[in-house]
C-alpha cells in the first residue's frame, strides 16, 4: 500500500488504483479512480502529474467531489451559504451552526483550471460584459448562470471594501442578476496611530482597536443572518466551538507545512500541497472530512520524512512560492525545473494562523479577518513574505501573478523587491493564465534561470 513516492500520470494512476484496491484500500464514499473525473469534464487531469499515495488520491477525490456534496446537502434539506471573497472567515461561522453548509462560489475560478475551457464559464462571463480584463474569478458568474456546478446558495455573503476590486465588480453584477447578497465591510487595515490602541493580530501584525471593533460588529451582523437561516442563534458557545474546529484544520495544515518545508527531501509534491492548503479556507464543504483527509496526508508525509524519501532529492532548490496559480501544471513544472517548495503564501496566510482562543470569540474572529493579507498594504504582506522566506531557508522566491487579478497586478514587484532587499534572495515574477501553453517556455526559462542563479550562489556562499 505504501509505495515509495513517485509522480504518476493519470494512466499510471489507473494501474496504481487497481493495485491499491487489491491491497485492500478502504475508501470514503467519494472514493474511486481519478480517471472518472475526466468523464465529468476535468480534462486538465490528463496533463498533470500526481503524487502516488492513497492519501493524495483521497485529497484529489475530496476536492473534485465538492459539488456532489453540495447537491447532497441541498437534497438533505441543509441550508447552503455562499461565502464570497473573505477567504476563511464566514465559513467558520457557518460551520458553527447545525444544518448549515458553506462554500466559496469564488472557487469557481478553479473550474476552468481543471476543466480547461470545456465548460465555457469564461465565455459566459464574456457575454455578460465581464471579459478577460477581469480576474479569472469571473468564472463564478458563468457558474451562476449555467447552474451546472453548485446549487444556488440559500444565502450569499460577500465582503466589500479592502478586497479585490475585480471581485466587487463581479459580485455586484451577480447581485444585479437577481442573486441578493448580504454585504459586509472589510476595512483597509492601517497601522495604529500613536494615540490609538493597537490590537495584536494572528501572524504578527496589528491593527487599531477601532478597526477590529468595527469588523466585529460587521461579523456579528453576518452571524445574525446566518442564525436566521439556520433557525437558531449563532451564540458565543457555538462560535467558540466552531473556532476550535476550524483551528483543528489550521493546526493540521501548519503541521503539514512545517513537515514539508523543513524536510531534507520534499515529502509531498508542490501540486498536492497547494490543493491541501486550500482546505484552510473552504474545508471543501465538509469540515470534519477535511480534517480526516489532512490526517491521512500528514501520516503519509511523516512516514516519508522518517524514511528520507520524497521528490527532487536533497539538491533541489528551495523555493518560496507566492500566490496560487491558475494553471496547475505550473506546480509540476517547478519540480521539473529542479525546485521544491520550502514555503508558500497563497494569499490566505491569515487562514492558516490559529484564530485566538484566549479572547472573546467574536473579537477573535474579527482579529483573524483583520489579518487578511489582502486587507492591508502590500508592504505588510511583502514584509511577512520576506521574513518567512528567510526563516525557511528559501534560496529563491517565485511571485506568480494571475492575469486580470487586480489584487496582485502591482503587488508582485513590491514583494519581489522586498525579498531581494530584506533577505537578499533572488526573485522572479511570472504570470500564469488558466491555459499557460503560450507562455510555458518563457515561464520555464525564468524558473530554470532562477534555479541556476540559486545554485551558483551556493558555490560562492552568498
Amino acid at each position: 500500500m505504501n509505495a515509495p513516492p513517485r509522480r504518476l500520470t493519470l494512466d499510471d494512476w489507473d494501474a496504481r488504483y487497481g493495485d491499491l484496491r487489491r491491497a485492500g484500500l478502504r475508501e470514503p464514499s467519494y472514493g474511486g479512480p481519478l480517471r472518472r473525473h475526466v468523464a465529468d469534464g476535468d480534462h486538465r487531469l490528463l496533463r498533470l502529474q500526481f503524487d502516488n499515495s492513497a492519501a493524495a488520491l483521497r485529497l484529489w477525490n475530496f476536492l473534485l467531489t465538492e459539488e456532489d456534496r453540495l447537491h447532497a446537502a441541498r437534497a438533505e434539506g441543509r441550508r447552503i451559504v455562499g461565502a464570497m471573497k473573505d477567504l476563511g472567515t464566514v465559513p467558520v461561522m457557518a460551520y458553527s451552526l447545525p444544518g448549515v453548509v458553506a462554500f466559496y462560489p469564488d472557487g469557481a475560478w478553479w473550474t476552468p483550471c481543471v476543466m480547461e475551457m470545456s465548460d465555457e464559464l469564461l465565455a459566459v462571463a464574456d457575454r455578460m460584459g465581464i471579459d478577460e480584463t477581469f480576474c479569472p474569478v469571473r468564472a463564478m458568474l458563468g457558474a451562476f448562470v449555467t447552474r451546472r456546478h453548485f446549487p444556488i446558495p440559500d444565502l450569499l455573503v460577500c465582503s466589500a471594501g479592502a478586497v479585490c476590486d475585480d471581485f466587487s465588480a463581479i459580485a455586484q453584477r451577480l447581485n444585479g442578476l437577481g442573486h441578493p447578497i448580504l454585504w459586509w465591510e472589510a476595512p483597509h487595515r492601517s497601522e495604529p496611530e500613536p494615540d490609538e490602541e493597537a490590537v495584536p493580530l494572528p501572524g504578527g501584525g496589528r491593527a487599531p482597536r477601532a478597526q477590529v471593533a468595527f469588523l466585529e460588529s460587521e461579523l456579528r451582523r453576518v452571524g445574525e443572518a446566518l442564525g436566521r437561516l439556520a433557525g437558531t442563534d449563532l451564540d458565543d458557545a457555538r462560535l467558540a466551538d466552531g473556532i476550535q474546529r476550524a483551528n483543528g484544520i489550521r493546526r493540521r495544515l501548519r503541521e503539514l507545512r512545517e513537515a514539508c518545508f523543513t524536510a531534507r527531501v520534499a515529502p509531498l509534491p508542490a501540486l498536492e500541497l497547494l490543493i491541501a492548503e486550500m482546505l484552510a479556507i473552504h474545508f471543501c464543504s465538509d469540515l470534519e472530512e477535511a480534517g480526516a483527509v489532512l490526517d491521512d496526508l500528514l501520516d503519509e508525509v511523516r512516514r516519508r520524512v522518517a524514511a528520507g524519501t520524497g521528490f527532487g532529492g536533497a539538491d533541489a532548490v528551495r523555493v518560496y512560492w507566492v500566490n496560487p496559480v491558475a494553471d496547475l501544471r505550473m506546480m509540476n513544472r517547478l519540480e521539473a525545473a529542479g525546485g521544491r517548495l520550502c514555503g508558500t503564501e497563497f494569499l490566505f496566510s491569515h487562514a492558516l494562523d490559529g484564530i485566538p482562543e484566549d479572547v472573546p470569540c467574536w473579537e477573535a474572529l474579527a482579529r483573524a479577518a483583520a489579518a487578511d493579507p489582502m486587507a492591508g498594504p502590500a508592504r505588510d504582506r511583502a514584509a511577512r513574505i520576506a521574513r518567512d522566506a528567510a526563516a525557511l531557508g528559501a534560496e529563491a522566491v517565485i511571485v506568480s501573478r494571475i492575469p486580470g487579478a487586480s489584487h496582485c497586478a502591482t503587488e508582485g514587484g513590491v514583494m519581489a523587491d522586498a525579498v531581494r532587499a530584506a533577505a537578499g534572495i533572488p526573485a522572479v515574477e511570472i504570470e500564469v493564465p488558466p491555459l499557460s501553453d503560450a507562455v510555458a517556455a518563457q515561464v520555464s526559462t525564468r524558473m530554470e534561470a532562477l534555479f541556476e542563479t540559486a545554485r551558483a550562489r551556493r558555490g560562492c556562499g552568498t
Binding site: Q442, T445, A449, T453, T462
Partner: protein, 258 residues
C-alpha cells in the same frame, strides 16, 4: 579540447567553438532559425566544424542555450540564456555589472556581482515590445532592412514618438504616420527610442554601471546610444554581441569538462 556553445534563439542560431587549450574562440557561425530546429543547428555545427577541419567527435561537450535549447537533443546539457549571457559577458567585459540582452523575441536585464555571477534578472513579459521582432516589423513597414534602421535613425532630425508598446498596434501607428507623410528616418529613430525606453523600464532605477549591451539587436547602429540616453548612463557594446550567449554556453561547456 574543443567545446561548443549553441544559442538557439528565436530568430537565429549562433554557434561558438572554443579551444580550451588555446583559451580562445576557435570558430563561430550563425544561421536563421527555422522549423526543424535541431536539424538546422546540427547542420550549422557540422558545417562550422568542417570549415575548421574538425568533426563532431572532436567536440568534447556541447551546451545548448536559447529559446530552442530543449530541442537540441545532440547537446550534452541545456542552460538558460540568462546564465549563458552572464558567463559570456564575464568573458568579454568582466567589469560589467549590468548586462542588457535584446534578442529577437525577448529582452532581459541581468545584474552581475563582482565575480560575474548572476545576482538578479528580469525578462520582458508576454509581448514583443522592446525586442528585435519589433524592429523587424518596423523595417518591413519602412521597406528597409533591420540593419538599415540604425543608419536611417542617425539621419533623423526629430524622432517621432511611438506611443504603442504593442508591436501590432505600433505597426498600425506607423502606417498612420507614413500616411501623414512622416519622415521614415524620424520613424526609425522613434522606434529605436521606444525600444530603449521599454528596456529602460525593465532596468528601473537599478542600472549599475558599467552597463553592457548584448544580443543581435545591439548590432543595429545607434541602439547602444539610444539605450544610454534612456538609462541616463553610458552603455558599452559587447564585442560581437550576437554571439555572447553562445560564447557563454561554450565557456560553461569548458568548465563542465574541466
Amino acid at each position: 579540447m574543443i567545446v561548443a556553445g549553441v544559442d538557439a534563439g528565436s530568430r537565429a542560431i549562433k554557434i561558438v567553438l572554443y579551444d580550451t587549450a588555446a583559451g580562445a574562440v576557435a570558430g563561430r557561425a550563425s544561421c536563421d532559425q527555422g522549423v526543424r530546429q535541431e536539424d538546422i543547428a546540427a547542420r550549422a555545427l557540422d558545417g562550422l566544424l568542417a570549415d575548421l577541419g574538425l568533426a563532431r567527435g572532436d567536440v568534447a561537450r556541447v551546451v545548448a542555450t536559447g529559446y530552442g535549447r530543449a530541442a537540441l537533443a545532440f547537446a550534452d546539457s541545456a542552460v538558460t540564456e540568462i546564465t549563458c549571457h552572464a558567463r559570456g559577458v564575464r568573458a568579454v567585459a568582466p567589469e560589467a555589472r549590468t548586462a542588457v540582452d535584446i534578442g529577437g523575441q525577448d529582452s532581459k536585464v541581468i545584474w552581475l556581482d563582482a565575480g560575474g555571477a548572476v545576482r538578479d534578472f528580469v525578462m520582458n513579459d508576454r509581448c514583443a515590445a522592446g525586442t528585435g521582432r519589433f524592429l523587424e516589423v518596423v523595417a518591413s513597414r519602412l521597406d528597409a532592412g533591420v540593419a538599415d534602421l540604425g543608419a536611417m535613425a542617425a539621419e533623423s532630425a526629430q524622432p517621432v514618438p511611438i506611443s504603442s508598446t504593442c508591436v501590432v498596434f505600433a505597426e498600425t501607428e506607423i502606417v498612420g504616420l507614413l500616411a501623414s507623410a512622416a519622415d521614415p528616418r524620424d520613424i526609425a529613430a522613434g522606434v529605436q527610442k521606444s525600444i530603449a525606453s521599454r528596456v529602460a523600464s525593465m532596468v528601473g532605477r537599478r542600472a549599475v554601471e558599467p552597463v553592457v549591451l548584448t544580443g543581435g539587436v545591439a548590432l543595429v547602429p545607434g541602439m547602444a546610444a539610444a539605450l544610454a540616453a534612456a538609462l541616463g548612463c553610458p552603455v558599452a557594446l559587447a564585442p560581437d554581441p550576437q554571439y555572447t550567449g553562445a560564447l557563454g554556453a561554450a565557456l560553461l561547456a569548458a568548465e563542465a569538462r574541466a
